[in-house]
């Protein structure tokens, strides 16, 4: 694999929480400019994998991001290098206004003009956010909060965006919208590592997919291939 093609390479990464082994020897890689989805049932270790990559938990093994070893690097340092983690459960700042939330997304940046441009870009993706700039973020609907969380992450100008269950708890129609936007963000040049429960949608938008089962990689391949495979259909797509 050519060096420039791979933006993130995860090799033999394991994480334990005390005595619990959450993931063991997980390996996969994300190509520059693609969407890779990580699917698996509850407790499979998807969130843990993202946390290991973004430096939120300690891990063993190797993580390479843009040809640099990053295992053990602090999350805030990784953000400045272009790796941005949009955590599970949205993690918006509920007592701050929508605008303040967005400003925090650009915390590491000081290029005011460019930030302003990126904000406009976020408003284009999420017109609803713009209407609610002064509103307390905690009073947004679940879907709006999710949009805010993604928009805020974009303001850090990520090269690789880690999204943890962006469709969690959203109405089917909104799920469609969110996935459409994920595709748009990707089309603008951001590589995406997408964790999803909604395997059906995730496999539609992703180029490649990794299936996690009890902390181990069970399958990897083209998303379209996995969507057709019997095991995946049975376990994650609800087809007998």
């Amino acid at each position: 694999m050519g060096e420039n093609e791979t933006i993130l390479e995860v090799r033999d990464v394991s994480v334990r929480y005390g005595a619990i082994r959450a993931i063991s020897n997980v390996s996969f890689s994300v190509k520059r400019g693609e969407i890779l989805t990580l699917i698996g049932s509850n407790g499979a270790g998807k969130t843990t994998t993202l946390r290991a990559i973004s430096g939120m938990v300690r891990c063993t093994g190797n993580v390479r991001f843009m040809d640099q070893e990053i295992a053990g690097t602090r999350p805030d340092v990784l953000v400045t290098r272009g790796l941005c983690h949009c955590p599970e459960g949205r993690g918006i700042f509920a007592n701050m206004s929508v605008e303040e939330n967005l400003n925090l997304g650009a915390f590491i940046r000081s290029d005011k003009h460019e930030i302003e441009k990126d904000k406009q870009r976020v408003f284009e993706l999420f017109p609803r956010i713009k209407e609610r700039l002064k509103q307390n973020a905690g009073t947004l609907s679940g879907g709006e909060q999710q949009m805010l969380a993604i928009g805020r992450a974009l303001l850090a100008r990520p090269k690789l965006l880690l999204l943890d269950e962006p469709s969690l708890g959203l109405a089917p129609q909104l799920v469609q919208t969110i996935f459409k936007i994920i595709r748009e963000i990707n089309a603008q040049g951001v590589s995406i590592l997408l964790v999803e429960q909604n395997a059906h949608m995730a496999l539609q938008v992703a180029h490649h997919a990794v299936v996690l089962e009890v902390g181990k990689v069970a399958m990897t391949g083209l998303a379209s291939d996995l969507a057709k495979s019997d095991e995946v259909r049975k376990a994650y797509l609800g087809h007998g």
Binding site: S54, V79, P87, N95
Partner: protein, 390 residues
């Protein structure tokens, strides 16, 4: 609010001089005005005893504003703030008192009552004094040193505990306050004789002669109404500036959600420690000023009771709202004086107030917002602006 302003400003490109004027000169000037008004208008108008209460109110406000940076903005729970206060008090008092005793300033050593009436006189340079009296300049220097020592201790205490889970900070700061109190009782007796002081060697200062359990007295009382309220204003400006800065945004984000703050690129340990050091330093400065208000300072200054009082100010005022905690500190410091007979039950009243507050307004009087952000007028203006933006 300031975000919109900042959007407008780039076209004007403020020069460095203008920024300096706006950032330093203006606040200092207005603080000076407040100090002078307190000294020459309010002080004489309310009489001697209320004026001495006004001094203590000022000290309370400083403590509240400083603790607000940690417990309010950052959402960390420090319960040993009085420890830093006491350290600042003893360091500042020690410098001022022993410098005066050793005869560096023969004019000092006046009685508290004298200083209260004489304080803040503008003395133009007569060879010995410049603008203010020698002792006042020395008090300011001693207070800055006191603040720096407290800030340094804040770093030593904060760094290890803030890296760990939240509750560690509470335990460690509680311990810090108590240890400080005990150590202060172990200091040697105060030296009152000039010749005795001259005869001391460096090794006599390993355990400093700070009066032990009896306390440290006769501190030159230069902290007049003017100086106390000058520093109150400076501290409020400073705290407000911090809140509006990117540091402030980082602190507030930590309080809201640590994981999300980290994923925004906020180095949470660094910012928590920064908040803690700032708060400790300001508490130390307040402590030193307190020592110069004509008080005998005692080891109990470091005790839990004072820490608890400050926590009450911050919690009631609104955990992050500067105007809120200032108001709470003022009201709750005047109230016990107004209800002298009930002052023994003060802590009970505080506890009841706290419980009531938790039920009625769990985020404090004003939450994290400032008072003026609640004015309907500001609200209307904001929504107008929202419509205008293309």
């Amino acid at each position: 609010m300031s975000g919109e302003l900042q959007q407008l400003v780039p076209t004007m490109m403020p020069s460095a001089a203008r920024a300096l004027l706006k950032g330093v000169a203006l606040p200092v000037a207005s603080a000076l005005v407040l100090g002078l008004v307190m000294q020459f208008v309010v002080g004489p108008a309310i009489g001697a005893y209320p004026a001495s209460v006004a001094l203590q109110v000022g000290i309370s406000v400083m403590l509240a504003v400083s603790l607000n940076i940690v417990n309010g903005y950052t959402g960390q729970f420090s319960i040993g703030h009085a420890g830093f206060f006491a350290v600042g008090a003893y360091v500042g008092a020690g410098i001022s008192y022993y410098a005066a005793l050793s005869g560096i300033d023969p004019a000092s050593g006046q009685q508290p009552s004298q200083a209260l009436s004489n304080g803040a006189w503008l003395v133009w340079n007569d060879g010995q004094n410049f603008l203010f009296s020698y002792g006042e300049w020395r008090m300011i220097l001693a207070s800055i040193v006191g603040g720096c020592v407290a800030a340094g201790l804040g770093y030593i205490v904060g760094l290890p505990s803030l890296r760990l889970r939240g509750d560690y900070l509470a335990i460690v700061t509680l311990g810090f306050g108590e240890i400080t109190r005990v150590l202060l009782t172990q200091t040697k007796p105060q030296i009152f004789d000039r010749d005795e002081l001259a005869a001391t060697h460096a090794k006599d200062w390993v355990i400093p002669p700070m009066g032990g359990a009896t306390g440290f007295s006769d501190i030159p009382a230069y902290a007049s109404l003017m100086w106390v309220w000058f520093f109150v204003a400076v501290m409020i400006f400073f705290a407000y500036r911090v809140k509006q800065s990117s540091t402030g945004r980082a602190l507030l984000s930590i309080r809201e959600d640590e994981i999300a703050a980290r994923s925004m690129g906020v180095n949470i340990t660094k910012y928590k420690v920064r908040a803690f050091v700032l708060a400790a330093g300001l508490a130390g400065l307040a402590g030193s000023l307190y020592a110069h208000t004509g008080q005998v300072i005692r080891p109990q200054e470091a005790g839990f009771q004072r820490s608890f009082e400050v926590i009450i100010f911050v919690v009631l005022g609104g955990m992050g709202s500067i105007s809120g905690v200032v108001l709470a500190a003022i009201i709750l410091s005047i109230l016990p004086e107004a209800l002298r007979d009930l002052s023994e039950y003060r802590l009970i009243v505080y506890a009841l107030l706290l419980i009531l507050m938790m039920i009625v307004r769990p985020k404090g009087l004003f939450g994290v917002r400032e008072i003026w952000e609640f004015w309907p007028f500001t609200r209307a203006k904001k929504s107008e602006k929202k419509v205008i933006t293309p």
